[in-house]
Assembly symmetry: D2
Homo-oligomer: 364 residues x 4
């Protein structure tokens, strides 16, 4: 099948997430990267594009215009800029009828989020948000198990996302813009909190009604939050918690999800991503692996460890199918709704924390 022609905004040499998107687009051969506005620095943009052997643009404005005009222009674009620079290019490409694959979170401000929402709703093109963890095989299997009632009625949901890389004031490029409220929108709750929020939502199929948050800035001089402890209440009566931290020394990328229901429990941990522990109320726990995954979201037999990049690629693979008109997969690829829900989560968490943990409704 002919690969989908892809462009990229952001992701010049040295950028972490841009390289990840390129690998994800490449892994299954369903995309070919042909154009990019890879950096706000024109020289760096050109050099990065030359290295990749793609058409280079000085700005996304120019890129939209030129690519939309080409017979062989891009069909989709990946936006991998800092959070405050998602909205403008996303809206522009959507308006040009080009599918948008946007890194999370949706935006740095509600206004920017609104801008994307309007453009997406008005566009015939798709908008995708790369909450990659929900595309890992055992997470998809977890969702299937919940949906079919393996846990009974859900009572407790606990998500943790713990990292330690911001325990001090680092001076890396990646750390820098994340520490600036104007560019990042928020700190850890935006960067990793939205992943945690989406993961719980994806697997349980439920969204908390209210939350109570305690955001902290543990490092002297830091303006944004770097640790948050958030209690959740669901309309169903279930309770939950999200604990995120970027000052949790020794934790590399400790995302985990635990769900307890009336009939059973599930546990999944990113550092051991190919095992899903299912504990029925009675009887021994079971170690599910890809041999039990019914979504077939993998490339190799069980026991050949797949991980982060393969999960990310699963999203790109689904996107390629959707672009080719397989709309059934829309159900499992995060898009505008997930993005808006993440923004509502950030807003509610900040509002609650500002009111010393008062319970706040999560808007939609």
């Amino acid at each position: 099948m002919r690969p989908v022609r892809l462009g990229m905004v952001g992701g010049g040499s040295g950028a972490f997430i841009g390289a990840v998107h390129r690998i994800a687009a490449r892994m299954d051969g369903q995309f070919v990267l042909v154009a990019g506005a890879l950096s706000s620095d024109a020289d760096r943009a050109a050099a990065s594009a030359a290295e990749l052997g793609i058409r280079s643009y000085d700005s996304f404005h120019e890129m939209v215009r030129a690519e939309a005009a080409r017979e062989d222009g891009i069909e989709a674009v990946s936006i991998v800029t800092p959070n405050h620079l998602h909205a403008a290019p996303a809206a522009a490409f959507l308006r040009a009828g080009i599918h948008v694959i946007c890194d999370k979170p949706l935006a740095a401000t509600p206004e920017q989020a609104q801008q994307i929402a309007e453009a997406a709703r008005a566009s015939g093109a798709h908008f995708f948000l790369t909450h990659n963890y929900c595309a890992m095989p055992m997470v998809r299997e977890a969702r299937a198990l919940v949906a079919e009632g393996a846990l009974g009625k859900i009572r407790l949901v606990q998500v943790e996302y713990l990292q330690g890389w911001l325990a001090d004031q680092p001076d890396s490029k990646q750390a820098e813009w994340r520490a600036d409220p104007a560019r990042a929108g928020a700190g850890a709750i935006a960067d990793i909190g939205t992943h945690a929020w989406q993961l719980a939502q994806f697997v349980t199929g439920q969204t908390p009604a209210t939350l109570s948050a305690d955001l902290s800035s543990m490092v002297a001089g830091r303006v944004v939050d770097d640790d948050a402890r958030i209690a959740l209440r669901y309309a169903s009566g279930a309770k939950g918690g999200i604990w995120i931290s970027q000052v949790a020394v020794g934790q590399e990328n400790g995302l985990s999800l635990r769900i307890f229901g009336t009939e059973g429990a599930l546990e999944w941990r990113l550092p051991d991503p190919e095992r899903l522990i299912l504990s029925p109320k009675d009887g021994p726990a079971r170690i599910l692996t890809r041999a039990q995954d019914r979504s077939a979201s993998f490339r190799t037999p069980p026991g050949h460890p797949e991980g982060y990049l393969e999960g990310f690629s699963n999203i790109y693979l689904d996107i390629a199918s959707i672009i080719r008109r397989d709309s059934r997969l829309l159900d499992r690829v995060p898009g505008l709704d997930a993005g808006l829900s993440g923004m509502a989560f950030i807003a509610a968490a900040q509002a609650s924390s500002a009111r010393d943990g008062a319970w706040v409704e999560v808007g939609s």
Copy 2:
């Protein structure tokens, strides 16, 4: 060395924790059980005592009187009754100058706690509270590491204590009195929450200043709490969380402790009790075992798994030494202060939850 003569109140045949105390008292040969008021049911008391080959009393009143009068009367007594029946015997034995080893929590009500406190302060005898987990070797080593600064300044403390045995309405004797507010004082927060509270306190050497709690009763018809999510704030600026549950299906006895500081982190989990993970801020995590434990709180070489009963026995072993006038060990055996702190924790958690999670000071 002559073993210490021990009595017991409660713990008739079929009781879980009474049998545990007897094993703990026996394991190192430092105690000899000689007398008991083992049940409020006189026949059962007599039969249980006969089986153990000890002097039997119909009530603790009678037992205090008789034992205090004997030349070879008991020197210490273990109180293993339901929570609301700790205070009266504890006070009576303390007044008679007999050391008291009391199961946790201290009492079912503040008034009962106060009764014990007054008796303990007025007595020349010791009062001990069996928060057994803090006597496990790797927990003692964790405390030593924190004390010597291996973690730097503590930022985050997280304790979980998850069980699933009350996910339904069980009809066991042990479940029954725990479900009655009058006898238990509270639900999960009293039964396992106080363990979690004391564990964090023991290892960190700090007590949270305020807390915000969300207590739940997840099972229809249950009056007491069976799940609680509690946020903690320390005077030092550290934050913490306690999550306890007795409806966490699939969890047998999931106690765990994680502490993150500016220089390193510690993780300990009861299901794997002989390993303590120390993660320095830089460099690889280290798996500490009893080979690194400096408290020497064990009986066998590293690699010969010791667990719950040995930890419990460590408390009895220390108590025997203290009774024989080694007061240095008082520092690591929980007593009245730990008990009162646990009561203050329960009260604060209930008060906060009643006010929808408002931050409440933890009294002392």
Copy 3:
């Protein structure tokens, strides 16, 4: 029930395994230690006995004579001397009609083993051998699963017992006699190899027909083996392997057992003793815990870690029942047959290794 009166030969202060036997005898209150010939050094024997508050003898000869003559003399004796000193006391006590609980391996030489065998067969008293690991709950459950066919026909059996404490020439008392062929009989294959051999035999219910061994002495100047790699062939067509080492740096006490059959597999590891992984041929692996153990070989609910000492105590508990005439338990407590099989294993392994790994029949 009246506790069984117990004596001890060996196990003076400082001895490791003597103390373990005393704890095991004490833990469930079924034995009372009343007499001992605790050391070949008369002063040390007396001092140790005084500390324990028991009758002291200068030699086991004297002890047999005196105890057999007393109305309240010992009913059973624990022999915890170095390997070459098992036979003489064991035979003497058996001849006096006193039950013998002997530490493993049976003896240091075939002649000594024969001496015990003759005495045991001629005696009305029981002979027990403390292969303690087979009394741990999940090992007993493993045996039950194999017996009921959960694995189908067994194809592969693999036991490892890895320690690192003899990686150098240590100068501890425990290391010293183990390094002397005359006192230990053999090196690692006697000390831990017989445990491995018995464990496989106990769980599978099968004894290998032939073996091929490669014994090594990895440390300069050491005479006995400290590492052995042994291949096994069963009459059934199953194959197996035993790998033991005492120079495996970093391994504290790494005993593990894996069995693969036509229908399923089992894995048990001493460092995580309360979990048994059962992998059916089809479907996910199951994590069995004491909640699934049908032997009820424990004192606390699942999740309250029990380990080495509790397993050891399970043997003593069964012995007490057997002495009180519950012969049903004889099936699961190792005795003379296990001891002789262990001696045959040692002999075959040494013979095979001497012939460069030739396949050798295991005598019986």
Copy 4:
């Protein structure tokens, strides 16, 4: 940088390892697949090539001729046919000066291996063998640790490679040719045994001098080996063992490596590939992760799990660099020597097993 033009022999639709090679070639964008003789079935070859959008050939003969003649012909070819079909195409491409990337094992017979060896030695092109596991980051770090002496003098080496997928007679295509001695050369020892052999060799830098093997065919009607237990002796005095099985029910792809030296030990397990346990002789074990890997063989920060496909891609990445004249990397990419050593291993194991486990020299 311009991607290397790649061809493929074998790997038509449905083939497992062909798809893996294609992902590995694609992941880092260093190769572009342009031509293939993807199947011996001409229709299937054409259809598979069409799907991939590449030039199709009916046979490798035709492909060599045509590609060698093109200005823009392939620079390298991946050979992913069954074992007995490696030699002819490998020799042909090498003679044409085209680099060969060959799946393992080298060949099905010594004669075929010889054919490759001669062609490789006579060619200016490179020959690579995809023993992919040695390219995983923590394996490379393990090798570096051994090389710098972190373990001291090596005493013990243990490799296991356990799978369960051939516990019955499966009827998949992949299982079918592997069960035919003419096509596979041998059973499990060829398919996974050579991986185990190479892994030990790669990390330790040593090759065993002699071995003693016991090969089995556990499944009725199977001609080739499906289980093997192999003892190793090194010239240095070190001992080792390889246990491989394809009837180990419940094992998905259980490759593991343990090395014990005089100063420390290493353990690595494929199911948990991003952790390497380093146990110094004294002091606690350390959990090394990619944060400690000095080979930088990864694409994402530590904690973002990479696995099998990324390891495979590391080989392709190195090959691209070597083709572009960075010969420094030749040291860590397996080639002809590894292939011939694997053949010698197979031959020695079969010879020893035929002589009931006699010690046999491993030729070179």
